[in-house]
């Protein structure tokens, strides 16, 4: 069935692309089919009690890469959220976009591609499957954030989001590799507690990866920027589902990390700072959508805090919060989008009085907001109660850190929720509104009602989130969502939170709306990227400066380094200075000629000394009894000298002068490399492990090759392939010269 659903989604992408050519609404309608089917199926499974569906496709067996799905309780709950909210978002988008909107093909296809990737992520039962789909969601998110990609701000925001989540993905990759190695398995449902030296490193790396995706401080800076995307995207990816991927990862890996202290503390560090900083950020914004976005950072911080605690109670609370948050946050975003479309602004300083003109939206926002603030009779209340209970159940320093953070963060949450609602719908001059679009209103209403129903049917919700939590920690099985706890400590704290938050929110709403805060964090992230882009040319200019002599000097230095090992095997007893004194004379002549060539200033002089070097070498060949080789060498040298002289043409007689220090460097390099290369050859033969098959060659040349001249047989038979190659080389060079000469001739002709 999982395959069927996946294929249905892939087919849906194609169909949406085709339908999208007729307009974005047709595309969206077509795209909604697959998520709707999936959601229906998932809900039917929620009610029933089936074994987890599994599916597997091996991709790279040798590396354990592949697609391995397992629809356990957690996955089923997430599927319901992903596809359920997805369906609503597609419907909503039909109302959100005008009929003639741009991007009819790319928006629906990208959004459905995201939805598909998200399903793969939540179904994953192998860390690599999870990782693969994790990366898909980053890419599809990038495409969706950049939907309106003609503005520079949008491009920056898209780049920021991609780079932070992309780099986080690489960190996660390293972390998961360590986890897989330590646990001895890549199957998530089989992960046992990991220990050992690499466990802490793995925990930190995985947590950092999760933090980038789930917008934890200081990586949260991409999330407000991602609000550049159309609101359906913000509601779906950047509040309800994709940003939950990191949280989900924390939950599913918690069985492996139960004994790793670094996991708890890294998680708390991210979670607590994000919860508080996000809430403060939400209080400072004036764009209603950004208030919600910062609120998401805060809520994700709460989730990471609670889930990283790792206890059964904490897992239960965390999963309940996750479920509740997806519902109320999506509803709030949908309302903001509707406000945006119908009034043309999202600025709470300009908005007001919408409670009268948009009563349904106001009611939806109120229900969802109350759920977010943790007020009964709503799902969010029960989840937050569970979170406080989880904090109370701890011991040690983490008890006070967690409790303090949850309480403080929740107070701020109540405050910014109130400020959001009052700023948008509260008293004020009535803003003019466009007519309602049913497609936008209905999904928001459903999501808000889900929060109420979740409270009413607390037992059924417990049956959904409970088993999911049990999969992460068996001890979670004893907990349930409680509609009315009575005057217990947690409830007292809850009352205090709501009271304090309301007072703070009221106080802040009464004050005039300040200017939007500067985007310090996002700017810093952009600046890091820009600095990298600026740093790159500096470094590059140093290594790729364009000076051929320096490149060659670099090569020579490498050569000198490569000759060094030979000296370790230096054995000089077997060396003789010369067989015959004549050799010494020839070598001396050659060296003198070479040295002269190196210092002489004129091109002609250099050419002639080079020729002299060649003649010296042919002399050495003669002494060694190879007159034919010497003759060949002489001919080559002559041709080269003549060629050079002819080629000088209009060139200046002298070489361009170079600085004295550069000349010194070159001289030093030449001498050292010369000595190195020569010594290396001398030492290379010091203890040969084989000798040239000279006798075999001479025998075979005559017997098999049928020639008395061994060299000829070698060239034309034994190593004929080499000769063929070199002949082709020569022909190729000739063709190349001809081509260049032709170009030159054409130029001259064109000039005249």
């Amino acid at each position: 069935m999982l395959w069927t659903l996946l294929i249905a989604h892939l087919a849906g992408i194609v169909v949406a692309g085709v339908a999208g050519r007729r307009g974005i609404r047709a595309g969206l309608a077509a795209a909604a089919i697959a998520p709707a089917a999936t959601a229906t199926w998932a809900i039917s499974r929620l009610v029933g009690d089936a074994d987890p569906a599994t599916a597997e496709l091996v991709w790279v067996a040798g590396l354990d890469l592949g697609v391995s799905f397992r629809l356990d309780s957690m996955a089923l709950m997430m599927t319901t959220l992903v596809s359920g909210i997805g369906t609503l978002v597609f419907v909503y988008a039909i109302g959100y976009f005008s009929a003639g909107a741009d991007g009819g093909v790319r928006f629906p296809t990208a959004l459905l591609a995201f939805s598909t990737s998200m399903l793969g992520l939540v179904w994953a039962d192998s860390v690599w499957t999870l990782f693969i789909f994790w990366e898909f969601t980053s890419i599809t998110s990038f495409l969706l954030v950049g939907h309106k990609n003609t503005s520079a701000d949008v491009l920056r925001a898209a780049r920021r989001a991609l780079m932070i989540t992309g780099a986080g993905g690489l960190v996660l990759l390293a972390g998961l590799l360590l986890v897989a190695e330590a646990a001895g398995t890549t199957t998530i449902s089989e992960l046992g507690p990991i220990t050992g030296s690499s466990a802490s490193v793995a925990a930190i790396l995985v947590m950092v990866g999760a933090a980038t995706k789930s917008a934890q401080f200081p990586f949260h800076v991409w999330l407000p920027g991602a609000m550049a995307a159309p609101t359906p995207v913000s509601a779906y990816l950047h509040s309800a589902t994709m940003v939950k991927a990191g949280v989900l990862l924390v939950a599913v890996l918690s069985p492996a990390m139960i004994d790793v202290d670094a996991w708890l503390w890294t998680g708390l560090a991210f979670g607590v700072t994000s919860m508080l900083w996000g809430a403060i950020g939400a209080l400072r914004q004036r764009d209603a959508k950004l208030i919600l976005a910062w609120g998401t950072v805060s809520q994700l911080g709460l989730l990471v805090t609670v889930l990283s605690l790792g206890s059964g109670k904490a897992l239960f609370a965390g999963i309940s919060l996750l479920f509740a948050h997806a519902l109320f946050k999506a509803a709030l975003f949908l309302v903001v989008g509707e406000v945006d479309i119908r009034t043309g602004t999202r600025d709470i300083a300009e908005l007001g009085g919408l409670a009268r003109s948009m009563p349904i939206a106001a009611a939806v926002a109120a229900l969802a907001g109350l759920s977010m603030a943790g007020v009964p009779p709503l799902l969010g209340f029960m989840a937050k109660e569970a979170a406080i209970e989880a904090g109370l159940g701890l011991s040690g320093p983490e008890r006070w850190i967690a409790l303090g953070a949850i309480t403080g963060g929740s107070v701020l949450t109540v405050a910014y929720t109130l400020r959001f609602w009052i700023g948008t719908f509260g008293p004020g001059p009535a803003t003019e509104v466009a007519p309602r679009r049913l497609a936008m209103t209905a999904p928001a209403v459903l999501l808000a009602l889900a929060g109420v129903l979740g409270y009413v049917f607390a037992g059924q919700v417990t049956d959904i989130v409970g088993p999911a939590a049990v999969e992460a920690n068996e001890k979670a099985s004893v907990y349930e969502l409680i509609r009315w706890p009575g005057l217990k400590t947690a409830f007292v704290i809850s009352i205090g939170i709501v009271a304090a938050g309301t007072a703070l929110g009221w106080f802040l709403s009464a004050r005039p709306v300040g200017a939007a805060p500067r985007t310090v964090g996002a700017d810093a992230a952009d600046e890091t990227i820009e600095a990298t882009l600026r740093f790159a040319p500096d470094i590059t200019a140093r290594v790729q400066h364009g000076s051929l002599p320096v490149y060659l000097a670099t090569m020579i230095i490498a050569v000198i380094a490569a000759t060094m090992p030979f000296f370790a095997s230096a054995e000089i007893d077997h060396l003789v200075l010369w067989d015959r004194p004549l050799q010494a004379g020839l070598v001396a002549v050659t060296i003198v000629a070479a040295a002269t060539g190196a210092v002489v200033g004129s091109r002609l002089g250099a050419t002639l000394t080079l020729g002299a070097v060649g003649i010296g070498v042919s002399g050495i060949f003669v002494v060694h009894g190879a007159p034919d080789l010497a003759l060949t060498q002489l001919v080559v040298e002559t041709v080269i000298v003549v060629g050079f002289v002819l080629g000088f043409g209009s060139l200046a007689r002298e070489f361009p002068r170079s600085s004295e220090s550069w000349q010194t460097i070159r001289l030093v390099l030449s001498v050292i490399s010369g000595i190195g290369i020569m010594s290396a050859l001398a030492f290379a033969g010091s203890r040969p492990t084989g000798t040239a098959p000279i006798e075999a060659l001479t025998d075979e040349a005559v017997d098999v090759g049928g020639g008395k001249n061994v060299v000829n047989v070698i060239l034309t038979d034994i190593r004929a392939l080499d000769t063929l190659g070199e002949v082709v080389v020569l022909a190729t060079v000739a063709v190349g010269i001809l081509a260049l000469a032709r170009v030159r001739a054409d130029e001259v002709e064109a000039a005249s």
Partner: protein, 492 residues
């Protein structure tokens, strides 16, 4: 099988000669070129199948004993890599024929024949079991690529060609010195015999030879700091030529390194190689970020990616070598395709400069899609082959506890992603450029798009078949890490 191996050398050479003879007859020449390149590619496919079924095959050229003559060795390494290389050349030639007679195209009268010579050089370099013949193969590749690079005679090409040819000729000279060292120390240049004789050499000589050939092959492979010839020269050549260079040339260097240094058991050079690999990855990626022209960005990425392959090799573990080989197989087509798309962009926009392009995804979604696949692959994102290749190398690194290099590889990965984003934002998104070229783009667009499409499909196939390809890479790595296998095949 003798015929098969021979065809891979002779067919492209023969077609080069014939095509050159009839170079003024467009269709005949192109048909001959395609026939030659196609035959070679087809033969390599047969070789792959045969070697997979029957194991390594050795051809003693002229029937001479390996002690004296030359052998061609189709082991599992060559049989895996060579077909990919030859298929690439064939597809690029299709693109080139579609692009001829455009300002961006090469001169088909020369490029076809030269491509034949290059192909023969590539086949020879990968098949030869003889160090001297490898030198000859390098020469064939060098001269034909130099002619391809400069044959249009533009000033920029000649200038860049100078750096290219001088550095590479110096490397060839060093190769000859290296042959002298090897011959003096062992009395042979046959690789199979060398696998016996080099490990027995005194440590200094053995490592000296290893280091020496690291410099030689390193220059060919464009590792830090020997890569300078590459980034200046590649972008100046016509697209199709750069595409082939990008896909193949440096890879011959790394191929030779994987073969030589693994067969000769140069494990002790591992740390040096890893250091160089790390710097190469980072410097190459930074170099790419520094550029503002599509082809220049892509050129620097070649260097960075060579670093990954070198890292796999430098680990000197079975997993590392296999990772390096898989990376090689992945990288050749992906890099080629990216340059072909770069050619499509230039063809369409009149330029590849990021500041003069924009919004292409809206106007030409097909080109955007053709770019996105290999770009994501290059950046190492799933489900593309680049992900598997990078994954293989990095997990080998973690297994070998080579933490610093794993970190550098990941950093380079992030930088690569950033530079691909730079191209995407500059070319495909953003506002339309001031002067949108409304004119019909020149050249045979359907043919160019088709060739690029085939190539993209090829990279997708490699992604889909990453599993079997990884197994084959492991097999190839096993053959290289156990020289007994190679020796037995050649000397029996």
């Amino acid at each position: 099988m003798n015929t098969v191996l021979t065809l891979m050398l002779v067919a492209p050479l023969l077609s080069a000669a014939l095509a050159f003879a009839v170079r003024r007859h467009d269709q005949l020449r192109d048909a001959l070129t395609l026939a030659g390149l196609g035959t070679a590619a087809g033969a390599s496919g047969v070789m792959f199948a045969t070697v997979a079924a029957d194991g390594p095959f050795v051809l003693r050229v002229g029937g001479w004993h390996p002690e004296l003559g030359i052998v061609l060795v189709a082991d599992r390494f060559a049989a895996l890599v060579l077909p990919v290389a030859l298929a690439i050349i064939f597809v690029v030639e299709l693109f080139a024929i579609g692009q001829r007679k455009t300002a961006w195209g090469s001169n088909p009268e020369l490029s076809g024949p030269m491509m034949g010579v290059l192909t023969a050089g590539v086949s020879l370099a990968m098949l030869t079991g003889d160090l001297f013949t490898l030198f000859v193969a390098f020469e064939l590749i060098l001269v034909s690529s130099y002619v391809l690079l400069t044959h249009q005679g533009q000033a920029a090409q000649l200038r860049a060609g100078m750096t290219y040819v001088v550095m590479n000729l110096l490397a060839s000279t060093l190769f000859l010195f290296g042959l002298a060292y090897v011959y003096a120390a062992t009395g042979t240049v046959n690789l199979a015999l060398l696998t016996e004789r080099i490990p027995e050499l005194p440590d200094g000589v053995r490592l000296g030879i290893g280091a020496w050939f690291f410099v030689v092959f390193g220059t060919k492979a464009a590792v830090f700091p020997l890569f300078s010839w590459l980034p200046d020269s590649y972008p100046t050549a016509p697209t199709t030529i750069t595409a082939v260079f990008a896909g193949l040339l440096t890879k011959i260097g790394i191929y030779a390194m994987i073969r030589f240094h693994t067969l000769m058991g140069m494990d002790q050079l591992g740390n040096t190689m890893l250091i160089i690999a790390g710097v190469t990855m980072i410097v190459g990626a930074l170099g790419a970020l520094a550029q503002s022209h599509v082809k220049r960005i892509l050129s620097f990425h070649i260097i960075s990616q060579i670093g990954y392959m070198l890292m796999g090799l430098g680990l000197f573990t079975a997993a590392g070598t296999a990772g390096a080989i898989l990376f090689l197989v992945h990288h050749m087509p992906v890099k080629t395709v990216l340059f072909l798309v770069g050619g499509l962009i230039e063809n369409d926009q009149g330029t590849g400069r990021l500041d003069r392009t924009g919004g292409l995804a809206r106007r030409r979604p097909l080109i955007a899609a053709l770019f996105a696949v290999p770009a994501l692959s290059l950046a190492g994102l799933p489900p593309f082959s680049g992900f598997v290749a990078k994954f293989a190398v990095i997990s080998a690194g973690i297994e070998a506890r080579a933490t610093p290099w794993v970190v550098l590889a990941l950093v380079a990965g992030a930088l690569t992603l950033l530079s691909m984003t730079k191209i995407w934002l500059g070319v495909f998104w953003g506002a339309d450029p001031d002067r949108v070229s409304v004119r019909r783009p020149p050249g045979n667009r359907p043919m160019m798009l088709a060739a690029t499409g085939i190539a993209v499909a090829g990279t997708l196939t490699i992604s889909a078949l990453a599993g079997p390809l990884f197994d084959l890479s492991v097999d190839a790595a096993e053959d290289l890490r156990d020289p007994e296998i190679y020796r037995t095949a050649v000397l029996r």
